[in-house]
Amino acid sequence: MSDTSYKTLKLERRGPVGWLLFNRPEALNAMNAAMREELAGAWLELDNDPDVRVIVHTGEGRAFQTGVDVAELASDGVGMERYRESMENWDLHFTAWHQKVAKPVITAVNGICAGGGFHWVADADVVIAADDAQFFDPHVSVGQVVAPEAIGLLRKMPFEAVMRMALVGRHERMPASRARELGMISEVVPAAELRTRAQELAETIAKNSPAAMAATKRALWGALESGLTEACRQGAKEVVSVWGHPDQDEGPRAWAEKREPKWAEPAKHDGAAR
């Protein structure tokens, strides 16, 4: 099933997996103003669809994502000023993290991931990549500052590698194999098999309790916001939140009966309200 109401994205459902694809291959999937707006709704649509248990995010063509659409900036007479207010107010809505998506999100990096493309690497739960994927951050090479996407990555992986990309700019590319060594991503697959593997991985994750995964995800992402002891105190609330939930009985019962568990339907949520 494919949703045709998006111009810059494709949304698809394959079994329990919702797919979100950047769909401007002719522009290396650069994010223009239209895509930026469509992303906000696309994340919420998939997160609110009860048939979707896990979301896979990738791109059409040879690039995953190359950041803000420079051609549009140079020609529309407004330039980066268009984004000043949302950036100054830290009011962004184009990643799963910005939109408080409760479901697991797998980013499958299908090629070049440059500059602003790191937003979706930093803000995903699981990241895999094609063996020909390349990572680099050209911001400083064109006189721009990289901030949120690099800061997100700094929290999640060794500092030096992120700083090096930020300072070297367009003059060096990190291959997928190095990204895996560093724990920026967890798996590298032959390019032709990327989508098959992403679907398979998503279906595997979809076997787990949706309620337990949502709470685990909140505990882990919450930990990026605070010190260790405080993070554990907040994490305790998430652990306790599923006590008495039907999945707590169903999980062990299915295990004892050697069958796949039948999890409760995840509660529908409004991303904006959380």
Binding site: D125, E181, I205, S209, A236, G251
Partner: protein, 225 residues
């Protein structure tokens, strides 16, 4: 002193804290939960012990709570639930404010709550056949403390992947080394010798300074970053 489900031994400057319920994957039952704080304290308060090595007997390192036993022991389960709610667990060296350096020597399967002892050790080494996984979400449970601790000391993405994929995937020892979750992988038969030798090197350093540095580094994890 002797403890339930734990072997505590001294060997030169090394204090050994060994999970000893090999028939049940060294899972923590009510008696082991009650004795863990006492065993950590005994070794930490012994001036002859310069380094504590934590490992397991049998094919597993540690596989978390012994749910079967605890289901029959309502009082112990209630007590453990109370501590979980308040984030006041008392099972690891970190929980028990152990000042002596702690080496975890992961001798086999480390699953679910077993990850506490990896997240909360100072140094972690592993046997080449050790595996790490977190099955919580596959049985309808939430994983929090273990992964929060791990994500502070290693890359976030592989930690989140372990938490979300549950029992369907295991992280091998060599990948854990590459990610910096463990620093050394050795053949299974050499694990305890390697741990003893590493502990001996740490024991050569001045104990007060070693404890001070340990305290400083752990305190740095309390900053919101």
């Amino acid at each position: 002193m002797s403890y339930a489900g734990l072997a505590v031994e001294r060997e030169g400057p090394v204090g050994w804290l060994i999970f000893d319920r090999p028939k049940v994957g060294n899972a923590m039952d009510a008696a082991m939960l009650a004795d863990l704080p006492k065993a950590w304290r005994e070794l930490d308060e012994d001036p002859s012990v310069r380094v504590i090595v934590n490992t397991g007997n049998g094919p597993s390192f540690q596989t978390g709570l012994d749910v079967r036993q605890l289901a029959k022991d309502k009082d112990a389960l209630r007590e453990q639930s109370r501590r979980t709610k308040r984030a006041e667990l008392l099972i690891t060296a970190w929980h028990n404010k152990v000042a002596t350096p702690v080496i975890a020597a992961v001798n086999g399967t480390c699953a679910g709550g077993g990850l506490h002892f990896v997240a909360d050790a100072d140094i972690v080494i592993a046997a080449s056949d050790a595996v790490f996984c977190d099955p919580h979400v596959s049985v309808g449970q939430v994983s929090a403390f273990e992964l929060i601790g791990l994500a502070r000391r290693a890359a976030f993405e592989p930690t989140a992947r372990m938490g979300l994929i549950g029992r369907h995937e295991k992280l091998p020892a060599e990948r854990a080394r590459q990610l910096g979750i463990v620093s050394e992988v050795v053949p299974p038969a050499e694990l305890r010798d390697t741990a003893r030798s590493l502990a001996g090197k740490i024991a050569l350093n001045p104990p007060d300074e070693v404890r001070h540095i340990k305290q400083l580094l752990w305190r740095a994890l309390e900053d919101p970053a």
